[in-house]
Symmetry: C2
DNA sequence: ATAGTCCTTTGCAGCGCTGCAATCGCTTCT
DNA sequence: AGAAGCGATTGCAGCGCTGCAAAGGACTAT
């Protein structure tokens, strides 16, 4: 049995298909009488527009895609959770893609011709892609990038001020009296820009307090996972002069670090204070609860969607814009105790 | 500037558009010479098929939608993480929707005419929808349901054997010598079927061990969150005769319960043993690590996609099938200590 | 040489909708 | 009364592709 179409409705209502279309799309200049007739017919037939056909006709898909490296990373799933309703409100469906941080996969998504009309725009949280990679992209694809890359002028970028946030995090550790502060999560290579900004904040806070950085306390990790945090912390504890505080580049890393500390019989924060980054829900319920930098995820999501909608709606490519969302330091048990 | 179309390629290659289409779709009976000509033209023009048009023409969208109640719940994000690659492998894009467990929202998704050709099928993890609600649905929508509902014969259902799994969990608590065992998460109302199956297992394990259930130790919660677990545990501790073990209906609940216990200065598992459900990544890294029932998420995802693809590919509606994925008990620190 | 067979290629029509511009009917103005 | 104006409605064409069935061409069998 065929689905009911615009034409069926038109026949039943005794008007032209075009008028039905007008009613469905809320076109203003339709008399109430006509509108009512059509609406009755729609109700009677249970008509629902075929989105595919509509999209083909008007050249838009009504979908945006959100691309994240990992879906099961709480930070990204929380962000996605905020993006979906914002997009829906703007009349867009959300496709989701995860890249595992794979450079080739990420490249193919933003590359020339990638678009295929499946989506009208993209919110992209790159991981494997360096700043340079990002610049080689389909200029016709409306793009909003999240995270730490900076805009090259052809797309919008929404993120928090990572250097400032990291500086605050480390300043907080200094403020509570810690002097041997480690950092877990550095990534001193092209795709590690996110990490490098945090390292920069780490140094800035030291400098501001007149402290010198012990370079050997800056530990690199391949990713920002619990296991990375746990492993790095174990390495730090193996040293003769372990730190009395650690700035972790994500809450997951922090959680892993705490795990290792407790397993070694050390107390948090008495022996080692820990601060994380992202403010994921976990950090609020573990024991100890984890001090963190909290980016305003709601604002990031709303802003990203809003900017993307703007870009998609504009005939001319808009100049790229750098947008800073708010963040704040949330001290919890892992630095200030109970 | 217009995108290049099939017709453009056809002109350049000196063949008909239909032949180009045949090449693009890998139709077998195209001579190598022709194929090569066409492929050269495609490469030269950078042609990419317009998915929208293709879908309109053949009546399929090539997309499936995965509907979950909450995206930031680790169980669901981990599941989604497994579903996406499985779907991609089968040639489908994944749309994601979250319902917040809202009954009306869930209803509208499976209701008559919901389909709209935006997606060819749905993998649905209902929460607000009762078994009966589920039966009032668009029969034309290929549907695979995850979780605890049972199939009414018009859709497939993939889940683990919750009663058996719950029985094992509680049996484990009994085995390590606990006798006053509480349950956190019961939901004795129509949409709480998931919870009720676990409660049934709770009772079954008691019966099998010849123990009687203290009904007052079965605590209801509105959701399966950390905060629910924390609150319920606090209520249990307020009693004159607190339990010595708790079966939590999710790992998040377990995590909340552990949080409360530690905050009260109690030891886990010495004073109170805790077992959860879902095997989310968190449970493997907290302190203590949380014993749990681990559903085989990979198998669930693969099976769900496989069944859905089968349903979507069939002209006749297939009879619904009940599919049980494997699960296993994973004892960790929260029951067996260090 | 003609008919029959088989495989490649093609033309037609249409998926269901909307952009565009024209049309229609009515009111208002001169 | 006729022209002009205006808003409601309509028809046409086409978005880019594929299903279908038929046409065309080469080859084999008689």
């Amino acid at each position: 049995m065929r689905e009911t179409t615009l034409r069926d409705v038109a026949e039943l209502a005794g008007v032209s298909p075009r008028t039905v279309s007008n009613v469905v799309n809320g076109y203003a200049r339709v008399t109430d009488a006509t509108r009512e007739k059509v609406e009755r017919a729609i109700a009677e037939l249970g008509y629902r527009p075929n989105v595919l056909a509509r999209n083909l006709a008007n050249g838009r898909s009504g979908q945006i895609v959100v691309v994240v490296p990992y879906l099961d990373t709480p930070y990204f799933s929380e962000l996605l959770q905020a993006i979906i309703p914002a997009a829906r409100e703007a009349g867009y469906n959300v496709l989701v893609d995860q890249t595992d941080g794979d450079r080739a996969h990420e490249s193919s998504l933003v590359g020339r011709g990638a678009r295929q009309l499946l989506f009208d725009g993209m919110i992209f949280s790159p991981l494997g892609l360096s700043q340079d990679d990002l610049s080689v992209r389909d200029p016709a694809l409306p793009l909003v990038v999240l995270g730490e890359r900076t805009s090259d002028g052809t797309f919008d970028h929404v993120g928090i001020d990572d250097v400032a946030a990291s500086t605050e995090a480390v300043a907080h550790l200094i403020e509570i009296g810690r002097r041997r502060i480690a950092a877990i999560g550095d990534q001193p290579y092209p795709t590690g820009e996110a990490a490098q900004l945090r390292t920069r904040g780490f140094r800035a806070a030291h400098a501001a307090a007149g402290l010198t950085v012990d370079e050997s306390l800056i530990i690199g990790t391949a990713r920002f996972n619990r296991i990375d945090g746990a492993t790095a912390m174990a390495a730090l504890l193996d040293r003769s002069d372990p730190p009395d505080a650690v700035f972790c580049y994500s809450d997951l890393v922090a959680s892993g670090a705490v795990h290792t500390l407790l397993a070694h019989g050390l107390r948090v924060p008495e022996d080692v204070a820990i601060i994380g980054y992202d403010d994921i829900e976990d950090g609020r319920y573990g024991r100890p609860t984890i001090s963190t930098i909290s980016p305003d995820k709601g604002a990031i999501a709303r802003t990203a969607v809003e900017r993307l909608v703007m870009r998609m709606g504009s005939a001319e490519p808009l100049p790229g814009k750098e947008i800073r969302a708010a963040h704040r330091l949330i001290p919890r048990q892992s630095t200030i105790g109970f």
